[in-house]
């Protein structure tokens, strides 16, 4: 009988967080999904079911933009996975080396861009790379490589990669910090035991440390995935809502913004905008589920 007493205190302690989270996250999320099922006809909001999604995926005008944005988004994500995370891991491995001097200085210096505003980062890099006032062309000129310079942000073929690398520069501190923390939590005894067995130097990183930080790498990957598919700010700050040149840097975030709020003579359409937001939500949800059920449950964990 004693056990079945209702434990009110649990509800009381949970309530503030649940209420705030519901008000600012869950309600808007479901309301956006609901909005995607409506359309505006003659100033009236009409329920149209899945028509907006049908337009988004089947109408050639919309679907072309959608797939372009999604493709760009994947490229943005791939660059982060291939450049940001390996560099972050490498930096963490170097920083955790016991004989490295000024480790704290490097750590802060590499982490600082992360706390900068997107607008500042976008603006600063635009100036650095500007063919007119930027220091990039003159620096390349100084080492005799001027011919390698191109107006990267203005060329269809380079713009998205350039922006992805700028974003990598900004956020490389995050995987570095997480991995660094994971590396520090590896007990000395294990490494010493490895040394006794003849595993030293690089081998100790590949054979002992890497398997132990694999769960952290998994978390970083999923954070990168969610962050990249929600990205918007940097592209908007650097290239504007039209994500030029010729939509080559258009990602789901900018596509959604342009549709939802309108742009120049294009009027905003909150319903189609919500449909795009719904699609973004679904993509992120699927990605996270694949990770949670497909990868994380199979990951081998070690008792330290």
């Amino acid at each position: 009988m004693q056990n079945r007493r209702i434990r009110w205190h649990i509800a009381v302690f949970l309530a503030p967080a649940v209420l705030v989270y519901t008000a600012v996250m869950i309600f808007p999320l479901f309301n956006t999904l609901r909005l995607a099922l409506y359309s505006k006809v003659d100033q009236e909001r009409v329920f149209v079911g899945l028509t907006n999604f049908r337009t988004l995926f089947l109408d050639p005008i919309w679907s072309e933009q959608f797939w372009n944005a999604l493709g760009n988004n994947f490229w943005f994500f791939i660059i982060h996975m291939l450049v940001q995370n390996p560099i972050g891991i490498a930096l963490a491995a170097i920083l955790s080396h016991p004989r490295l001097r000024f480790a704290a200085l490097y750590r802060s210096a590499i982490f600082i861009p992360t706390i900068l505003s997107f607008v500042i980062v976008g603006f600063a890099w635009k100036l650095i790379l500007s063919p007119i006032w930027g220091i990039a062309p003159s620096m390349l000129d100084a080492v005799g490589l001027k011919s390698l310079f191109a107006p990267w942000l203005g060329k269809e073929e380079y713009a998205l990669t350039t922006l992805a690398l700028i974003s990598v520069w900004q956020f490389v501190g995050i995987p570095m910090m997480l991995i660094y923390a994971a590396l520090l939590s590896i007990p000395e005894e294990i490494l010493e035991a490895g040394e006794v067995d003849g595993i030293t130097g690089m081998a100790s990183f590949w054979k002992i440390k890497l398997p132990l930080i694999l769960p952290s790498i998994g978390i970083i990957s999923i954070l990168t995935f969610v962050g990249n598919f929600n990205a918007f700010d940097l592209i908007y700050a650097a290239q504007g809502a039209l994500a030029g040149p010729d939509f080559s840097t258009d990602i789901l975030g900018t596509f959604m913004y342009r549709t939802f709020f309108g742009f120049q003579l294009q009027l905003g359409d909150p319903h189609m905008g919500s449909a795009i937001a719904g699609a973004m939500f679904a993509i992120i949800l699927v990605g996270v589920c694949i990770y949670l059920f497909g990868i994380q449950t199979r990951m081998r964990r070690y008792q330290l």
């Binding site: 100033q43 005008i61 919309w62 635009k126 790379l129 500007s130 063919p131 007119i132 006032w133 062309p137 191109a150 107006p151 990267w152 942000l153 203005g154 060329k155 269809e156 290239q239 504007g240 809502a241 039209l242 030029g244 040149p245 010729d246 939509f247 709020f261 309108g262 742009f263 120049q264 003579l265 294009q266 009027l267 905003g268």
Partner: protein, 417 residues
Amino acid sequence: MKRKVLKLALASTTLIATSAFAQDVTLTIESWRNDDLALWQEKIIPAFEAENPGIKVNFTPSAPAEYNAVLNSKLDAGSAGDLITCRPFDASLALFEAGHLTDLDDMEAMSNFSDVAKSAWQTDDGSASFCVPMASVIHGFIYNKDAFEELGIDEPTTEAEFFAALDKIKEDGTYIPMAMGTNDQWEAATMGYNNIGPNYWKGEEGRRALIAGEQKLTDADWVAPYATLAKWGAYLGDGYEAQTYPDSQNIFTLGRAAIYPAGSWEISGFNTQADFEMGAFKPPVQNAGDTCYISDHTDIGIGMNAASKNPDAARTFLAWVASPEFATIFGNALPGFFPLSKTPVELDDPLAKEFVSWRGECESTIRSTYQILSRGTPNLENETWGASVAAIKGTSTPEELGAKLQEGLASWYEPQQ
């Protein structure tokens, strides 16, 4: 409890008092012209407040690129200002249809404007006007007079002369022939395509025919401007692909470029920035003696928020905006924004005078994509930005661009199907 009742009673009497004596009403103006903040605060608003004691005016602009989105959110949330600066055509028409703007047809002062001036802020059938026209902007080319003298170049009037001048500047190498970038995209369409285009499609004649469905974007008159733009690429500075709009303005006002494809709105900014003498020439015609056409685009109007709490004061302000007095202050305070009222305004600025003088020599038209044609998806104006950039960069041929635009327009616009 008693005290509360007393307070309420006091509060309600003050409310009644304010409405009875109309004491110090504050009007807030929504605008995208953050460049003009100083002019409004120092010249326009004091002039109005001096004449209308009891009404205070607050000018609260937001960034041009965000204005439409910001304004729509504010209107939906009920927090927008009393007076709303109106974008031309559909953006404002949508606001009117959604009930956010008041019908101003009953205002006497509206008779100070011609039908053409009012057309940008009317319903399609012309039955209701919802914004007082404030100003139009004229397109053309501003040039560095010192550079032209140095190189012995005269103002070009035909296209052949125009490109000959560009060749000469390029050969000399002192100046970048033309300051324009394609990074922000809109300059290519606004200062490129819609600047030189009217000479090809014969201004209003072509524009109206396109709306009526009698001409197509694949017709020679609409494709040829892209072919001309394709020749521009060679004369823009190094790395123009990543050159932004402010970059172009700075390059020109620093005296590094000779010609700037312009809209007249640049005049006041350039006057303060540039320390050389500037001149202006209108878009060159194809053959000497051809009729010239200029883009004299109705650009700014001002209307009243239907949810305004001070409708009377707002109407007083709008009536003042429609008066010749405002036109004189505005036209001279902001050289390059030309008042639209019927009474002609005497302008002092030489560059602005040059621009406005073209109204007498050429046929006026407005930008081709603004009225009706940018109502659907894909949006013709946005598509024209991309197409103009592609033409300049040479990534697509003019014919491909015309075909693509026509396909997009025909997909939703019935007269073109």
